[in-house]
């Protein structure tokens, strides 16, 4: 009785010592040791408000999706239809939303009916209601009134077509003091309803900082080797234009001044890596996706001097955070075995 209970316990639970040995960063350490230590509170609005992030990107020349317009008050809601008339696909999102809440993606439309990537059709009234929900603060932190942003639809790189179900796969890179320390790609699935949110069932794929190769996949925090819907082998995934992407991520440090930052990017077919949004409180699931704790990498970066240029920081990260040769060889063998 007792032994079977202990057995079950040890199958599902681990000890603080084992986590510490792996360098896993927990919520409490993330909050105290990194977020409140390196992120100045008054800089938060820069990333919590996507409109401000967008304007900053334009100022600093960082690539981000085209902005079609914004809706700031209830009487402007009806203007959305005119705004998007000449755009085949578009995205409506709350400026102060979090966790991907309240993002409406329209692939194409005929002015009356709007088609979501899932094929579901919504009417003009549905869309306008969505906008007015955003304005009233339904999706914003703390329920404060918000602004709706209308952006051009990203035509994502075909390299990922086999790895996604409906949604756009995005790449999250944790940037610490300007150094990219860990990266993952989030693949939407049927379970996640086309959203790239890990706790809703999207697959997280850890990416090697050195090369952009996939190192591991997880769904619901448990290992996953193939995309659950397309069946495509996760280890065959490699992000192209990896250096450009890391430099885009690292550049966000100068742009915002935030020391511990989650950068969310997508690869556009024509324009390459683009910055979607920034997060001053990035989650810890990236450790699960990489099968590795963040702590050792963060401590190495903490010992680096300030004022290093972007390109050097990226080179430093690619050198130190690259997976060892055997790991890459293992992945290669796994590929050959297929």
């Amino acid at each position: 009785m007792l032994s079977s209970w202990l057995n079950r316990w040890s199958r599902n639970w681990t000890t603080p010592g084992a986590l510490r040995a792996r360098g896993v960063v927990g919520m409490n350490r993330r909050n105290i040791g990194y977020i409140s230590k390196y992120n100045d509170r008054r800089l938060y609005p820069l990333v919590d408000d996507k409109l401000q992030t967008k304007l900053l990107c334009q100022k600093y020349g960082l690539a981000s999706p085209e902005m079609i317009g914004k809706v700031a008050s209830q009487f402007e809601v009806e203007r959305v239809v005119d705004m998007v008339r000449d755009h085949a696909g578009f995205v409506i999102k709350p400026a102060k939303g979090s966790g991907g809440k309240g993002i409406l993606v329209i692939e194409h439309h005929d002015g009356e009916e709007y088609v979501k990537p899932s094929g579901a059709r919504i009417t003009r009234a549905d869309m306008e209601r969505h906008v007015s929900n955003i304005l009233s603060g339904l999706y914003s932190l703390g329920g404060s009134p918000d602004v709706a942003l209308v952006e051009g639809l990203i035509s994502f790189d075909q390299a990922f077509a086999e790895f996604t179900y409906e949604g756009v796969p995005d790449i999250r890179v944790i940037v610490f003091k300007g150094y990219p320390v860990m990266a993952m790609m989030r693949l939407s699935t049927a379970a996640s309803d086309g959203k790239a949110n890990l706790h809703q069932g999207a697959v997280g794929v850890g990416l090697d900082i050195g090369s952009g190769w996939a190192v591991r996949g997880v769904q619901y925090d448990r290992p996953q080797f193939a995309h659950p819907d397309t069946g495509h082998d996760i280890f065959s995934l490699k992000v192209p234009q990896w250096d450009t992407l890391l430099e885009l991520a690292a550049g966000c440090y100068e742009m915002t001044g935030l020391g511990y930052l989650g950068t969310d990017m997508v690869l556009d077919r024509r324009h390459g890596p683009m910055l979607l949004e920034l997060n001053a409180r990035p989650g810890l699931a990236i450790q699960m996706a990489n099968g590795e704790g963040l702590r050792k990498r963060l401590e190495l970066i903490e010992r680096q001097p300030d004022g290093v240029p972007v390109a050097e920081r990226v080179a430093f990260a690619r050198k130190h955070f690259s997976r060892s040769k055997e790991d890459v060889a293992n992945v290669g063998m796994a590929l050959n075995a297929d």
Binding site: T15, R129, M288, E292
Partner: protein, 520 residues
């Protein structure tokens, strides 16, 4: 702030807190644990009335030694009024007087009563005689029939009174009973009927003692005597020619007919006299606040005296009504501590950070099981109705306002239903904080739409678990005793929470979440 200054602050808070606590224990003899000591009740009567401008005389009945309770100390507060204690028949009274007063007036009387099994009750000095009662038609025949029926089924005064009240039971009311109830208040009616039947009885006022209650009122009880004096004249029991008079009596609840005195009932007025009489004022009323202490009686008396010193800034020197309020307020940090522990050390998700503490406070009023059922009923019904609202395309503030009204409607309906089915516990559902519940419904509903029912169960379950644990902590008699009697502990709590706010280790649930990381 440097780490050193932080730990200095924590250490300082800890030191002051422990010091204050030890000081109170040593110099005031306040015990660490409740229960071992005698229970002492501080009860405050607040007399309020509006003076009409002329001379005012206000007379309040005062409690006497009685079964289960004895009077330790008493004092009054009333600016400008003259005061005298009257000890003649019927019963003790305090009489305030003033030559000229206008506007609203407040008079206070505070008594400290010791709860003890061997208190000697004040003797019955006078056996009251049945009063002459006059009835109008057709109430006289109805009364006569009711009395006849009760007399047939009874053997003596006590059983007669019980049988009489039974006829007015809600389920078994006859035509006569219903007719009589249209004309008279129930306690008054019972007294009239008993007197009409020649049974000695009177209405007395009792106060239900419950720790930390405010703005309580007295309830009427029937005091029924075993023996009726001859010749319809009140008999002086102590007079020489009145030996062997049986002064046995019982208390009967005029609403239910139940005989006997509940344990927590204090007979505030036991002589059949009015509670409060005011001459020269209108709108007079009296309300009560009470607090229970656990301490040796001698200490209670000493503390009472210490409270009268000019330089006493402790909470225990406040009027009782405010003290009773603080008894609850001082528990909130305990609830906050439970929330901090569960979030920082365990990693439990709740909907709304401190919402569970407010729910736990409501549980204290409703009792746990009733509270849980009530909470689940309200939130579940609220969610169903809210799911319809989400189709109406409303602005957020308007929608939450509609949810508030809906929650109030649900609470009203459940109260009425509970009352209809005789579940009096269901009435306490009104103690729930309605605006907080509405936000809970709103948040849960959005969560349901965005993340699915699983996440709702997870966060709802987390909130409820937190609320139950906070309730268990806050309702623990030991915790209640310590928080109220040792204010220094609040500083210790604060120091402890400061330390927790600095904890960078893993949360309990992270040991499960990150388990796969340690596998390969």
């Amino acid at each position: 702030m440097s780490r050193f200054a932080f730990y200095l602050l924590v250490g300082l808070l800890m030191l002051i807190g422990v010091g204050l606590t030890a000081y109170r224990h040593i110099s005031f003899d306040v015990p660490w644990v409740p229960g071992a000591q005698q229970k002492v009740w501080d009860i405050e009567a607040q007399v309020a009335f509006t003076a009409t401008g002329g001379p005012v005389k206000a007379s309040l009945a005062l409690p006497e030694n009685q079964k289960g309770y004895s009077v330790l100390t008493e004092n009054t507060a009333s600016s400008g009024f003259g005061l005298s204690y009257l000890d003649d028949l019927p019963g003790r009274r305090a009489e305030w007087s003033i030559r000229e007063a206008a506007g609203s007036q407040l008079l206070y009387y505070t008594v400290t009563m010791l709860e003890s099994d061997n208190a000697t009750p004040a003797a019955i000095k006078r056996l009251p005689a049945p009063q002459e009662v006059s009835w109008e038609r057709p109430y006289d025949t109805a009364a006569a029939q009711v009395i006849d029926q009760a007399r047939e089924r009874s053997a003596d005064s006590f059983t007669f009174a019980r049988e009489l009240i039974k006829q007015f039971d809600n389920q078994r009311q006859g035509e006569n009973a219903r007719l009589l109830l249209t004309q008279f208040e129930r306690p008054e009616l019972m007294l009239r009927l008993l007197n009409e039947a020649g049974v000695s009885a009177r209405l007395v006022s009792g106060l239900s003692l419950e720790d930390g209650r405010r703005r309580q009122t007295v309830s009427s009880w029937l005091q029924v005597f075993a023996e009726t004096p001859q010749g319809n004249e009140a008999v002086d029991v102590e007079a020489a020619d009145a030996e062997n008079i049986n002064t046995d009596w019982v208390l009967i609840n005029p609403e239910t007919g139940k005989q006997g005195e509940p344990d927590n009932l204090l007979l505030w007025e036991g002589r059949g006299a009015p509670m409060l009489e005011v001459e020269g004022g209108v709108n007079s009323r009296v309300s009560f606040s009470m607090i229970r202490h656990n301490e040796p009686a001698a200490v209670a008396v000493r503390n009472k005296l210490a409270n009268d010193e000019l330089l006493n800034f402790s909470i225990h020197s406040l009027p009782l009504e405010e003290q009773a309020l603080f008894k609850t307020i001082l528990l909130i940090p305990i609830g906050a501590l439970v929330v901090v522990l569960l979030r920082v050390l365990v990693g439990l998700k709740t909907s709304g950070t401190f919402m569970p503490v407010l729910i736990a406070l409501a549980f204290i009023q409703t009792s746990l099981v009733t509270g849980l059922i009530g909470f689940l009923l309200i939130v579940a019904t609220g969610l169903v109705i809210r799911s319809y609202l989400s189709r109406l395309n409303l602005l957020l503030v308007a929608r939450v306002s509609v949810v508030i009204i809906t929650v109030i409607a649900i609470i009203s309906i459940f109260s009425v239903l509970a009352y209809r089915f005789g579940l009096n516990a269901g009435l306490t559902i009104t103690f729930f904080p309605m605006i907080i519940l509405s936000w809970t419904v709103e948040r849960m509903s959005i969560l349901w739409e965005e993340e699915g029912p699983k996440e709702v169960l997870k966060q709802g379950g987390g909130s409820l678990l937190t609320a139950v644990l906070a309730y268990l902590a806050m309702n623990n008699p030991w915790v209640r005793h310590l928080t109220f009697n040792f204010l220094g502990l609040q500083l210790v709590l604060m120091a402890f929470i400061l330390l927790l706010g600095n904890y960078t280790g893993y949360r309990l649930l992270e040991l499960r979440r990150f388990k796969p990381l340690t596998e390969d």
